[in-house]
């Protein structure tokens, strides 16, 4: 599914990723933890093709394609989804309309027929049920005036509708109350499938109680410093990141 090989990349002018390697197989869930500023979001943004991250060397292979050569919108249509750490507000643009525009743009790229608004509405209603969400956010402009938790919930909902193959969740659990955390985790679990992979960036092992990861990685100083299973998350929570350097 994804093979990141010895990637060096800059965020703005600053060298952030320094020899990062990671392999994700279909159906796997990888958690990435690490200190503030270690480059976790930079890594997510690199995969999504956000222009403020510039790869310097190394390669990223995604489903047999050279991911770094694709445009951001192409990556999305190829199934790469990034739930942003800080989702953006788009005033005046209805959330439903935004999502349908996105879905149809992706379908067009893949040579599929666009969904008309009736079909789309039916699908969205089903997703709301499946993901145990409410429709209260859908009629409002994208993220405008949403609380922190609502923005995160909206990201997961978008993921549910767009059905990506590789979903990267950047601190989607931060700032959530316990109920919202469950909703987000349930959403992810509902979407888990043998051909869909997740990279979950988080600071808290709490989330990993709900979403059982196959691997836990520590990203430090621009590369994967340690890899383990879920017990690594416990250790980190107890001891912090200091012991890794020893």
């Amino acid at each position: 599914m994804l093979k990141v090989d010895n990637v060096f990349a800059k965020a703005g002018e600053k060298e952030i990723l320094k020899g990062l390697s990671l392999t994700v197989k279909p159906g796997e869930v990888h958690a990435i933890m690490g200190p503030n500023g270690s480059g976790k979001s930079t890594f997510g943004n690199l995969l999504a093709g956000m222009p403020y991250v510039t790869p310097q060397s190394g390669s990223v292979e995604y489903m047999g394609k050279d991911l770094l050569s694709l445009e951001p919108a192409e990556r999305a249509a190829e199934g790469v989804f990034l739930a942003f750490q800080y989702p953006v507000e788009i005033p005046g643009v209805n959330n439903m309309y935004f999502l349908r525009t996105a879905l149809n743009a992706q379908r067009k790229y893949r040579g599929e027929e666009p969904m008309d608004s009736a079909q789309f509405l039916r699908m969205v209603k089903q997703k709301i049920k499946d993901l145990n969400m409410r429709d209260d956010l859908l009629k409002r402009p994208v993220n405008v005036g949403f609380s922190g938790g609502e923005k995160k919930r909206n990201e997961v909902f978008q993921m549910g509708v767009l059905e990506p193959k590789l979903a990267i969740l950047d601190e989607t659990d931060s700032g959530l109350d316990i109920d919202a955390l469950k909703i987000v985790a349930d959403g992810v679990n509902h979407l888990r499938s043998p051909d869909r992979s997740f990279i979950i960036i988080t600071h808290y092992q709490r989330l990993l109680d709900y979403i059982k990861p196959d691997y836990v990685h520590v990203l430090a100083d621009g590369k994967i410093a340690k890899t383990g299973d879920k017990s690594l998350a416990f250790e980190l929570e107890e001891q912090g990141y200091g012991w890794l350097n020893k």
């Binding site: 956000m50 222009p51 919108a73 788009i90 005046g92």
Partner: protein, 485 residues
């Protein structure tokens, strides 16, 4: 030879963007360029006008001659040679004074309007929208006239109204925008050719949208139309104007005057989708759009609402205004002005509060792309006796690209302590973050910009009649083409 070649290339390129840029090849009667009293006498006699109207024109002309050319504030405008313009052009087929049945109209003209998406023919015309089609200096026909007459609504070309309802024209012409109001209003009063007249009698809600479609076709011709709308006590009407012109390398002048009068409890909603040819990407050609639009809320509880979507013209200079004379009257101004390439727009509104408890709302959205200049200029004035006047003004500017600019000039003058005036202004760039967010969801850059701009304009678009909101959005998309890079 070289020049011709070059023009063609320029035009071909621009044509991808401005699809209304075609020319109708039709025989026309055109007065030779030049302007003096004889020109005005000729226009008046062509239209077989009564003596009082000729006098009105001549009086305006004499005033105009004494007026200095205006000070352009933010606009850069080359000097206009008023002697090089022709002031009257009429396609032969549309004889100004013959009673106009659409069956008699030259098929070429009907075809032109078909191409513009405004079919005039019985079988194809827009449902629920009556159209007056003005081609250069004359109206070629008005649809649904008979249906409207049944409920007492008068909707006709201005020239016809001069003959059929002279008492109404004489009573109201120039009462809201006097001839000496400003340089271009005076010029218009002297040489105006055609336009629309609407009269809604007491208590009547006009049963359909009324609209006028203005088309400039002839070369080196100015268009000077005049619109007058009167809504009697308790009457209401929604009116829309649309405008296009062929692509020509020369600049052309459009100087219109619009007067609205609302009596007690009357409502007038006036919407404009302005898409005059903006010139090519190097700033060559395009329409100079100098328009005076003013509404008089004469009666108690009356309401006048201006909504405009301005995407065209090389230069736009207009400030649709409301005089809130009646107690409890209200005025609204909703505007989207988009400028691209070398376009300049200086637009805004004036809200003059004279009556008690008068209210005004101003929502202005300026979008600047390319090297364009976009200015909002607004005045809110509260007179001494206007107790409890309220104004809310919101001006938002959106910049796309690095070489464009937006300016906001809100002026307020209040002579009454009880007035409450609120003003909000924002300037933003389409943020990288918004764009990236859309891209990450699979939306292409062009669609993302259009989506974000559409969202930015939402407050204004929702004021437009449904069909036109769709058209306005499409227009913005076309005008935004090539905005990225």
């Amino acid at each position: 030879m070289q020049v011709v070649e070059e023009n063609k290339v320029v035009k071909d390129r621009a044509k991808q963007v401005y699809k209304e840029g075609f020319v109708t090849d039709i025989e026309a009667f055109t007065i030779p360029p030049g302007l003096d009293e004889d020109t005005i006498r000729l226009i008046s006699s062509k239209k077989d006008e009564p003596a009082w109207l000729l006098d009105y024109r001549l009086d305006a002309f004499r005033k105009w001659q004494k007026m200095p050319t205006p000070n352009w504030a933010k606009l850069k405008i080359p000097e206009i040679d008023f002697q090089a313009i022709s002031y009257y052009s009429s396609p032969h087929a549309a004889n100004a004074n013959a009673p106009k049945s659409l069956d008699e109209v030259d098929p070429k003209l009907l075809e032109t309007y078909d191409k513009l998406g405004v079919p005039l023919h019985e079988r194809e015309r827009l449902a629920g929208v009556a159209v007056d089609a003005v081609f250069d200096s004359v109206s070629v026909g008005t649809t649904f006239k008979a249906e409207l007459e049944k409920v007492g609504v008068i909707f006709s070309s201005f020239s016809e109204a001069v003959h059929d309802h002279p008492e109404l024209i004489q009573k109201y012409l120039g009462t809201v925008v006097p001839a000496q109001d400003n340089y271009f209003a005076a010029l218009n009063a002297a040489v105006f050719s055609d336009g629309s007249f609407v009269y809604i009698p007491k208590g009547v809600r006009c049963p359909m949208e009324l609209s006028t479609y203005f088309r400039i076709n002839a070369i080196n011709t100015g268009q000077f139309e005049r619109t007058l709308i009167v809504a009697e006590d308790g009457a209401s009407v929604s009116y829309l104007e649309g405008c296009t012109a062929p692509m020509r390398d020369e600049n052309q002048l459009h100087a219109a005057v619009v007067e609205l009068i609302a009596m007690d409890d009357a409502k007038i909603k006036y919407s404009t989708v302005q898409n005059w040819y903006p010139g090519d990407e190097d700033g060559k050609g395009g329409i100079y759009n100098f328009v005076t639009k003013r509404g008089n809320c004469q009666g108690k509880n009356s309401k006048i609402s201006w909504t405009q979507v301005e995407t065209g013209s090389a230069i736009t200079w207009k400030y649709p205004s409301c005089i809130l004379r009646g107690d409890n009257s209200s005025g609204e101004f909703y505007s989207v002005a988009l400028t691209n390439n070398h376009q300049q727009a200086d637009t805004g509104t004036k809200m003059i509060h004279l009556g008690k408890n008068t209210k005004s709302t101003v929502i202005s959205k300026g979008i600047s792309v390319g090297k364009s200049q976009n200015a909002y200029r607004g005045l809110v004035r509260v007179a001494k006796k206007a107790d409890n006047a309220r104004n809310f003004t919101q001006c938002d500017s959106l910049l796309i690209g690095k070489s464009c600019a937006a300016h906001t000039f809100p002026y307020t003058e209040s002579a009454n302590m009880t007035a409450k005036l609120e003003h909000e202004a924002t300037t933003s760039k389409i943020s990288e973050d918004q764009l990236n967010y859309c891209l990450q969801r699979g939306i292409t850059e062009e669609d993302a910009i259009s989506l974000i701009v559409d969202g930015f304009c939402k407050q204004v678009f929702k004021e437009l009649p449904m069909e036109f909101a769709v058209e306005a959005k499409a227009l913005l998309d076309i005008s935004l083409e090539g905005a990225i890079g």
